[in-house]
Symmetry: C2
Amino acid sequence: MQKYVIISNDIRNKILNGEYVANQQIPFEKDLCVHYNASKMTVKKALDMLVSEGLIIKRRGSGTFVKDLSADAINRITLANQFRGTTSLYPDKKVYSKVLNFSIEKVPELAANKLNIASDSFVYDIHRVRYVDDKPTVMEKIYMPIDLIPNLKEKNIKGSIYGYIKEELHLNIQSAHRTISVRKATDFEAEELGMEKGDPVAVAEQVGYLDTGSAFEFSTSIHRYDNFSAEFVLTSN
Amino acid sequence: MQKYVIISNDIRNKILNGEYVANQQIPFEKDLCVHYNASKMTVKKALDMLVSEGLIIKRRGSGTFVKDLSADAINRITLANQFRGTTSLYPDKKVYSKVLNFSIEKVPELAANKLNIASDSFVYDIHRVRYVDDKPTVMEKIYMPIDLIPNLKEKNIKGSIYGYIKEELHLNIQSAHRTISVRKATDFEAEELGMEKGDPVAVAEQVGYLDTGSAFEFSTSIHRYDNFSAEFVLTSN
DNA sequence: AAGTGGTCTAGACCACATT
DNA sequence: ATGTGGTCTAGACCACTTC
């Protein structure tokens, strides 16, 4: 484990344990260097992680301070900000899909733009409803280039596509760009998700990237309004 | 301007100009060090900024590559990820508020938790509807500790609260923690925002922090569904 | 004036991918 | 075996806050 991660974890624990309390100044970088037997750059990197998690504040000229977070906010922050497929989001629940469509098609223009592939490429055209503990939760429309994700089968669609990509193809998912918006459910969405017509839904449009830099997924997810939230920390620098 | 910002900007421009194209490998860190006459740490920091913006990918052992982004995604990314008040989000538009309430109250329990202040503290209780170009756009319920933000006046509520905090109080806003969810508009919200009853709304709950580390704002914003989106980049490391 | 965090360096060694 | 990016150091100088 890297030294800056160890230092960062240690300080995070001290904050969560209450050893460093709200608004308290924590030791200077110089002293932390001595305490952890590390160089200034390393300590700084450790502290910067905590800044981007939203736990501490640094002020040049005066020092580093624990943010005055409510217990509530601390809880949310510790649920780290990783992104995962639906399956691993609900590790204790039964997750499966009703497959509405699974075919290979010429890529629609919008998807070609998002995936940045040639307009005569072929993609999987996947349409499914995800059930969590037998309750319909999300309707997903997914396009994936067949070149990048070979041999996708209906059983993967029913289970975890991300699992197939990671464990069977041994590809690494690197990042995702996501946009969230809100609208009324269509009649079809309402029916499939067990809602009333016109009920609100959250729409998450996402482009996922492999660590090769290629976009492997353009998806649009329709979430029931009672089962959706997104959280993030915004920083000014 | 810091050297790593200059380098970062230069490379970002080369990507946006098309000088470095999608999936192309960009020069090695070693060569960039020579080209920019900078040390490895500095070049690395510059590249890491671009990674977190989602423009490039780094792979240990092989090199650094331009992400295969659609033009569309590039546009969204260049609209950088800063957070601002409504006023500066719409610099060319006329922004003002209808004030529904502006009073000083004992802090409600929920707000006391979020702001992490004593339960016998006093806060401004602000309720307003923001109009952009004469169209109602957001309804905001805001609590701010009176100790932190003294002398707030109704004219600030009608205009820009953030402007007052920054320009008149000379306080620095450091970060914000935001959660987004979705629900149906109440009848009152529908009326004030000019929607039908039960129309979808996006609800953004936000706790804002000063660079002193204190929470200065707990707000809940109700956004019309036709005028809301949130964007972010998720990274696996 | 003294002390903080921010940036930068020149070079070392390591983990990993490719050849 | 070579070469990539990742981590870490020891120390320098700078920008800013506080006294």
